[in-house]
Structures are given as C-alpha cells and as structure tokens.
C-alpha cells in the first residue's frame, strides 16, 4: 500500500496549513486536507504509455478514460502522460483509435 507519513507534508489546502511535527499539530478531528497528488504512484507501474504524437488526432479519449488523472493536455493541445502518477493500466493505449499509444516496459 502507499503509506504517507504525516510529518513529511507541509502543504496548504482548504485555507489550513498542515505541518504535523507533533500530536499537538494534528487537527482535533481526523480531517485530511492535503491534496493526494503529493503522493506519487509511478512505482506501481510495470509498463509506461508512450504517445506517438505523429499518430495522435487529439481526440482526448486517453484523457477521458484515464482513471488516474494522469493525462494532461499541453498548451498545444497534445496529451501528456504525467509519469509521476500513471500506474500503467494501459486503458489509454487500449482505447486509442489511431493506435498512437504504446505500452513500453519500464527498466
């Protein structure tokens, strides 16, 4: 499982600063307010998607179906894999109509 040690975080969220050094720093109630993207899930991946932009038609099916919110769209409208988060499920490659995405084994 992905464990997150509280003391490693110092992020602003929901107007609260959350830096947990001691028990006193913890909120009275267990209210979690650090956005989860401080956690990287790249280590889950065995295969990484590689987009061949020459074949990409910017249909955004890959973006639409990504369960990990790991595909962004850059300023020129190209899909970009956020490799810190991609778990390598392969849905993007499977659903890509022009076959522009290949799953490549990680080292």
């Amino acid at each position: 499982m992905t464990t997150t040690r509280a003391e490693h975080h110092d992020a602003k969220a929901g107007g609260h600063t959350t830096a947990y050094e001691t028990e006193e720093d913890l909120p009275e109630a267990p209210v979690a307010s650090v956005p989860s993207d401080v956690i990287h899930t790249a280590s889950w991946r065995t295969f990484r998607p590689v987009i061949a932009l020459a074949k990409c038609t910017k249909c955004y099916v890959c973006w639409k179906f990504c369960p990990d919110v790991a595909i962004a769209i850059d300023g020129d409208g190209w899909p970009v894999i956020r490799l810190d988060y991609c778990k390598g499920c392969g849905i993007c490659a499977e659903e890509c109509k022009p076959l522009a995405i290949e799953m490549v084994k990680e080292d």
């Binding site: 997150t4 307010s33 989860s36 899930t41 369960p67 990990d68 499920c89 392969g90 849905i91």
Partner: protein, 296 residues
Amino acid sequence: MARLTIPAEEYMRAGHSACPGCGATLVMRYLLKGLGPNTIVTVPACCWTVIGTPFPTTAIDVPMVDCAFEATGASVSGLRAAADAMGLKDVTIVGFAGDGGTADIGIQALSGMLERRTDAIYVMYDNEAYMNTGIQRSGATPRGAWTTTTPVDQAARGKPEVKKDVMAIVAAHKPAYAATVNVAFPEDFLKKVERAKAIRGPRFFHALSPCPPGWRYPPEKTIAVGRLATDTNVFPLYEVEDGTYRINRKLGKAKPVAEYLRAQGRFGHLTEIEIAEIQADIDTRWKRLLALEALG
C-alpha cells in the same frame, strides 16, 4: 484543439490509491465533473475509503465525510438537514457507496433516505462484489460469477443467485430521478449527472464500475468490458424520471452475452448451457425494460 466531450474541470486528484484500471475512480471523476465544486460527498466503508488516500491526504477537491458502512442514506439526510439549517445555498449532497454498502447492508438507510425524500444524490458504484475486502459476493454479484465466497469447484458453480435489482427497488420509492450510468459511456454519464443536478428531491445513480482484479480481466480492458456490459444488454443504460422509463442506448441487435462473459475470468468456468441460461435471463429483463418504457 479538438473539443472535449466531457468537462475539462477535474475535482479528483492524481495520487489516489485505486488499483490500476479501476472503474470506481472514473465514476467519481465523471460525477464530480458534472456536479462541480459546490458538492459534499459522504462515503461509507468501500473501496473509496482507501482510494481516497490516508490521512492527511484526500483525493477529491470537495469535502468528503466518512460514514458508517450501513448508514450512507442517513449521512446524506444529516448533511442535507445541516446545509438547509445553516443556509448553505445550492450545495449538492452526494452519498457515494459501493454495491455492498447499498444493496446489502445499507439498503435500509437508502430506503429511508428515498422515502423521506431527502434532496440529495445517491450513487451506487457497482463493482458487483465486496472488492475492498477482497472479492466476496454481494447481493449485486451476478449469477454465475466466481468470488472468494462463491468458489468454483466440484460442487459449486460460482454464485447461484441472480443479481439484486437495485434500480427496481429504488424505482419503487418513486424517486425524483434514477438512472444507470456506465464508465464506458462518459458522455451519457455526464448528461445524466447534469440532468440530476437540476432536479430537487431524491436522485439515484446505479453506476457500473468494472473491476480488473475482481472480475479477472487485464486492467486495460475496463472500458471495453464496461462497453460490452451495455452492448449485450447486461447493463442497459436507462433513466426513470417521475415514473417514466427512458432507455438511452438501444442497439439494433444486442451482442451475445457470451462476449461479455468470456472477457472476464470470473465467468471463465461457465458452460455453454449456463451461458445460454444467463442469455435467456438477460433477454427477459431487456423485454421487461422495453415494456416499462412503452408504458410512457
């Protein structure tokens, strides 16, 4: 830039703890895209308890209130009452529960919430078993499916009983709105969420949520398997508004159920005869649905 077919705004964050290819994350992602930021979600024990990431992190950009396994409907009513009492305007209250938490242990609270007409949206994301605990059968597990508590062996053929028809139970409460949605059809999903958002009163979504480890298919097939569920009439897309049924996707000729079943390891043991029985059952239910729609 080509046009996006669903809203660009994201209210679900990366970094969550779902299995690769998880359908339940897409249910949340699409739902929040449709509902927007003025939303509060309450979640009982289910995969999302874990997907939502451990303290101090959280995977959605709207408030989430954890509640007891069997009490989502009650939590929804409490949040709505407090929002009303405190003058929080236009906030959408959402109960977001799995099939076990809805069809089994939580059905009493769901019934209560529907009956007292709480102005809120209840979403059952249906992965057809207790997946968070490791694939035990639920009332929503379909007939014939292997699970860890409905093994396949000399004297057992997976789950012998048919899937509980939660939509029918919900419809019997005459909700303001009820619809089935499927992560393989995001545009239909979003259209219905936007429709539901505009309605007051109790609203319900039955969201098909394919699960790679639980259904035993490779994670890249989540959308393909989900699509097959609808295109074989196993999981028809329809909505019920003021008692009127409307089917949202009808194929000239549905695909054979075998295509859907054969794509998943949990049905790998089924014989031709068993598949034929399931096909007959699906055909009957489809005809019933057509008849309900014809009632107008």
